[in-house]
C-alpha cells in the first residue's frame, strides 16, 4: 500500500500549501479591509504577532521572546507599508498580488540576504558543526571578499585566469549565437518553401530540456563512438592530404573541453537569437528595402544601413539576456566536464563557484564569490541597457 501512502502524502502537502495561502490571504484581507481605521494598527500589532507566536509554538518553543519581537517588527513593517504605499488606492490588485510577493520574498530575498550574511562570516567544513550546535559562526568582515580576489576557488586555476576565461567564453558564445542566429533568421526571412518545417527543426535544441540536449551532444563528442570523430575519421581516410594537414579524430572531452563546451553551447543558444532576430526582421516594413533599392544599395549595404539598425531595439535586450545566461551557464560546463572528477580546464566563474561550495565546502567563501559575480553581471547589464536606451533615443 505504498502507493496509497504516497497519494496521502501528496494530498496532505497540497492541503498544507492551500492552507498556507488561505492564511496569507486572510491576513492580507483584513489588512486591506481595515487598514484605514484608526484602531487597526494597535490591534494588528498585538493580535497578529501573538497568532504567529501560537503557530510557532506548535513547532517548537525556543527563544519565544526573541521570535515574538521579530513578528512584531515584521508586522510594524507591513503596517508602515500599508500606511504609506497602499493608502487610498484601488486595493484589489494588491490583495491579489500579495501572496506572490510573499512567495518571491521567501524564494529570492531571503536567500539573498542569507548569502550576504554568509559572505561576512566564515562557514566552512570545520565550522559547520559549531554553527549547527551553537548557532554562531565567526564574523570575519571583508576577509572572504579579499580571499575571492587573492586565492583560487579551484586547485589549478587562479581567480583572474577564471575571469579571463569567462570573458572569452561569454564573448565567443554570444558572438556566435548572434552570428548564427542572424544568418539563419535572414535565410528564414526569405520566401522559401517548407519555412515552417525548417523553423521547427531549428528551434528543437532550444525547446528540449537542456540536460537532455547537452548529454546527447556530449555523446556525439565521444572519442571513439561519437558522430563528430567518426565523420572526421572518414574525411581523413577519404582525403589523405587533409589527414596530412592534421585532420582526424580528436580527444574532444579531455584535450579540448572548453572548445567542446563552446560548440555545444553555441548550438544550444542559436535558436533563441534566431527567433528574436526573425521577429525583428519581420517587423521591418518592406518599403524601406524598396526605397533602398531605388537609392542603389547593394545587398550588404541594405544589411548594414537598414536591417542592422532597425533590429537593434530587439537585439539589445536579447544580447543582454544572452550575455547573462552565458556568463552564468553552469549546465553545459558541469554536464560536459564536471562529472566524475572532471577537469578544471573548462571551468568558468560560476562552475568554479559551484565546485568551491559543494566540492571544497567553502560556503562563506563561495557566498562572497557569488556576490562578486552578481556585481559583475549587474554592471554588464546596466552597460547594455544603457546602450539600448541610446538606441531607442535615435528612433
Amino acid at each position: 500500500m505504498d502507493i496509497l501512502r504516497s497519494v496521502y502524502q501528496v494530498a496532505g502537502f497540497i492541503v498544507l500549501i492551500s492552507l498556507g495561502v488561505a492564511v496569507l490571504e486572510g491576513y492580507f484581507y483584513y489588512h486591506f479591509k481595515y487598514y484605514a481605521r484608526s484602531w487597526f494598527f494597535p490591534a494588528a500589532l498585538t493580535v497578529f504577532p501573538l497568532l504567529a507566536l501560537a503557530g510557532y509554538y506548535g513547532v517548537t518553543w525556543e527563544h519565544p521572546l526573541r521570535v515574538w519581537a521579530y513578528f512584531v517588527a515584521a508586522e510594524a513593517l507591513v503596517c508602515a507599508a500599508f500606511r504609506n504605499i497602499v493608502k487610498g488606492r484601488n486595493t484589489l490588485p494588491y490583495l491579489l498580488l500579495a501572496p506572490a510577493f510573499v512567495g518571491l520574498a521567501l524564494l529570492l530575498v531571503y536567500p539573498f540576504m542569507f548569502e550576504v550574511y554568509l559572505s561576512f562570516h566564515d562557514l566552512k567544513l570545520t565550522t559547520i558543526m559549531m554553527w549547527k550546535n551553537t548557532g554562531h559562526i565567526p564574523f570575519v568582515g571583508l576577509r572572504q571578499y579579499w580571499n575571492v580576489f587573492t586565492t583560487s576557488p579551484l586547485s589549478e586555476v587562479s581567480f583572474w585566469a577564471l575571469v579571463g576565461r569567462t570573458l572569452v567564453w561569454t564573448f565567443s558564445n554570444v558572438f556566435f549565437h548572434v552570428l548564427g542566429g542572424f544568418a539563419l533568421a535572414l535565410l528564414l526571412n526569405n520566401s522559401i518553401r517548407f519555412k515552417g518545417v525548417y523553423r521547427t527543426l531549428l528551434v528543437i535544441p532550444w525547446a528540449m530540456p537542456q540536460v537532455v540536449a547537452v548529454l546527447a551532444m556530449r555523446g556525439e563528442f565521444h572519442a571513439t563512438n561519437g558522430f563528430v570523430n567518426i565523420v572526421l575519421g572518414r574525411i581523413a581516410a577519404a582525403f589523405p592530404f587533409l589527414a596530412h594537414l592534421g585532420v582526424g579524430p580528436v580527444q574532444w572531452l579531455s584535450d579540448y573541453p572548453l572548445l567542446t563546451c563552446t560548440i555545444i553551447n553555441v548550438w544550444l543558444g542559436i535558436p533563441f537569437m534566431m527567433v528574436v532576430i526573425l521577429g525583428g526582421l519581420q517587423s521591418i516594413s518592406s518599403s524601406y528595402y524598396d526605397a533602398a533599392d531605388i537609392d542603389g544599395a547593394s545587398y550588404f549595404q541594405k544589411l548594414r544601413y537598414i536591417t542592422v539598425p532597425l533590429i537593434r531595439p530587439v537585439l539589445m535586450p536579447a544580447l543582454t539576456l544572452g550575455t547573462v545566461w552565458t556568463f552564468n551557464n553552469i549546465n553545459v560546463i558541469y554536464l560536459v566536464t564536471g562529472q566524475a572528477g572532471g577537469t578544471e580546464q573548462a571551468d568558468i566563474l560560476v562552475s568554479a563557484l559551484y565546485k568551491a561550495a559543494f566540492t571544497y565546502n567553502r560556503y562563506s567563501y563561495s557566498a562572497a564569490f557569488a556576490i562578486v559575480v552578481f556585481a559583475m553581471l549587474f554592471f554588464i547589464s546596466v552597460f547594455y541597457l544603457h546602450g539600448f536606451d541610446a538606441a531607442k533615443d535615435e528612433r
Binding site: 533599392d293 531605388i294 537609392d295 542603389g296 549595404q301 535615435e394 528612433r395
Partner: protein, 365 residues
C-alpha cells in the same frame, strides 16, 4: 529628363491578372496622372516602372531604352512612396543624402545638393530631425526632397497626399504644381483623388481593372469620356445615366424609355437613321440638368418632383424624381422650394453623352 513608354504591359500574380496590356506613351517633361479605383493596378504599374516588380509581359522603355531587366538604381528614377518610407533611424539630412553617400559622391557636392533641395522644400530647419519628430506634411516634403536630391530622369509619386488632411493636401498640391514648374521634370503621379488629377495633370490616364480606359488632357477626359466607366469615374458629383432605345420618328431621332422621350439633335449623333433601334445609355452631368430655367440648346421641358435638397454653400444638390427615375441636379444656391414640390427641368444638349449599351463606348460626338 526623359520619355517613358509602356508597351503591352501584362502583370500576373500567380494566375491573378492585374494588368492586361497597358500601352501608354509619356513624353519628356510631361506631368501624367494615373487615376482609377482602388485595386486597379496603379501602384503595380508604378512599381514595375521603378523596377521593384517583375514585368510578366511587354516592354518598358525609358528614353527609348528597354529597362525591363535593369536594376532599380540604374533606371534614374525616384519614387515617393505612399507611406513615405523614410528611414526611421536616419536624420532628414541622412535620409536625403543616402543615395548619394552610397554612390560615394564627394562631401561638398552632397552638401550642396541637400541644401538646394532643402531650400526648394523649406526643410533647412529640419535637417537634423528624425522622421518621427516631423508632422505628416513635413515627412512628405522630406520624401520629395529625397527624390529631388538624386536628380532623376523621372519622378514617380504614389498617392503622396492620401495620408494628409484636406487642408494640408490642398497646400501640398499647390507645392507640387510649383515644384513641377521649377524642376520641369517628367512626373508620373498616381492618385484616386479627382481634384488632384484634374488640377495637376498635363494628361490623365484613367485605368480600370488593369486596362487603360482613356488617355487625354483633363478637359478631354471630362468633356468627352470615351466610355461609361470614365464618364462615371471622372467628375463629382457623378453623372446621371439613363438607359433606353433610339428610335427614328420622321426625320427626328428620339431617345425613348418608360419615363422620357428626348429628341436627339444631329450635332450629337450624325446619320440618325443608322442608329435607330440601338440600345443606348445617355449621360448628363448634374451641372447640365437645368432646373426651372432655359438654356440655348436644350431638350424640351420635363416635369419632376423634388425629393431632397442639399446645400453645399454656393451650390445646391437637388435629388429629383422623374417618373420612376432618380436624378441629381446641381444649381446655384438658393433654390427656394420645399421637398415634394414639382419642378420643370431640361438637359443641356451641348454636354450630353450617348454611349452604346452593349459596348459601353461613346457614340456621340
Amino acid at each position: 529628363m526623359a520619355s517613358v513608354e509602356f508597351k503591352g504591359i501584362v502583370k500576373r500574380f500567380k494566375d491573378n491578372t492585374v494588368l492586361n496590356g497597358v500601352d501608354v506613351d509619356i513624353k519628356d517633361h510631361e506631368f501624367v496622372v494615373i487615376v482609377g479605383p482602388s485595386g486597379c493596378g496603379k501602384t503595380t504599374l508604378l512599381r514595375m516602372l521603378a523596377g521593384l516588380e517583375e514585368v510578366t509581359d511587354g516592354e518598358i522603355l525609358i528614353d527609348a531604352l528597354r529597362v525591363n531587366e535593369l536594376h532599380p538604381s540604374k533606371r534614374q528614377i525616384a519614387m515617393v512612396f505612399q507611406d513615405y518610407a523614410l528611414y526611421p533611424h536616419m536624420t532628414v539630412e541622412e535620409n536625403m543624402s543616402f543615395a548619394l553617400r552610397l554612390k560615394r559622391t564627394g562631401r561638398s557636392e552632397i552638401e550642396a545638393r541637400v541644401q538646394e533641395a532643402a531650400g526648394i522644400l523649406q526643410l533647412q530647419k529640419l535637417l537634423k530631425r528624425m522622421p518621427k519628430q516631423l508632422s505628416g506634411g513635413q515627412r512628405q516634403r522630406v520624401a520629395i526632397g529625397r527624390a529631388i536630391v538624386r536628380n532623376p530622369k523621372v519622378f514617380l509619386f504614389d498617392e503622396p497626399l492620401s495620408n494628409l488632411d484636406a487642408k494640408l493636401r490642398e497646400e501640398m498640391r499647390v507645392e507640387i504644381a510649383k515644384l513641377y514648374q521649377r524642376l520641369n521634370a517628367t512626373i508620373i503621379y498616381v492618385t484616386h483623388d479627382q481634384v488632384e488629377a484634374m488640377t495637376l495633370a498635363g494628361r490623365i490616364v484613367v485605368m480600370n481593372k488593369g486596362i487603360v480606359q482613356q488617355v487625354g488632357s483633363p478637359i478631354e477626359v471630362y468633356r468627352k469620356p470615351a466610355n461609361l466607366f470614365v464618364a462615371g469615374f471622372i467628375g463629382s458629383p457623378t453623372m446621371n445615366f439613363f438607359s433606353g432605345q433610339l428610335r427614328s420618328e420622321g426625320d427626328r431621332l428620339l431617345f425613348v424609355n418608360e419615363n422620357m422621350k428626348l429628341p436627339i439633335p444631329s450635332f450629337l449623333l450624325h446619320d440618325g437613321d443608322r442608329h435607330a433601334g440601338r440600345e443606348v445609355v445617355v449621360g448628363v452631368r448634374p451641372d447640365d440638368v437645368l432646373v426651372g430655367r432655359d438654356g440655348a440648346e436644350c431638350s424640351g421641358k420635363m416635369e419632376a418632383v423634388l425629393e431632397v435638397c442639399e446645400l453645399l454653400g454656393h451650390r445646391e444638390n437637388l435629388y429629383l424624381k422623374l417618373g420612376g427615375l432618380r436624378l441629381l441636379a446641381t444649381v446655384e444656391a438658393f433654390f427656394d422650394r420645399s421637398p415634394g414640390s414639382a419642378v420643370t427641368l431640361c438637359f443641356n444638349y451641348r454636354n450630353m453623352h450617348v454611349f452604346d449599351a452593349a459596348t459601353e463606348r461613346r457614340i456621340s460626338e
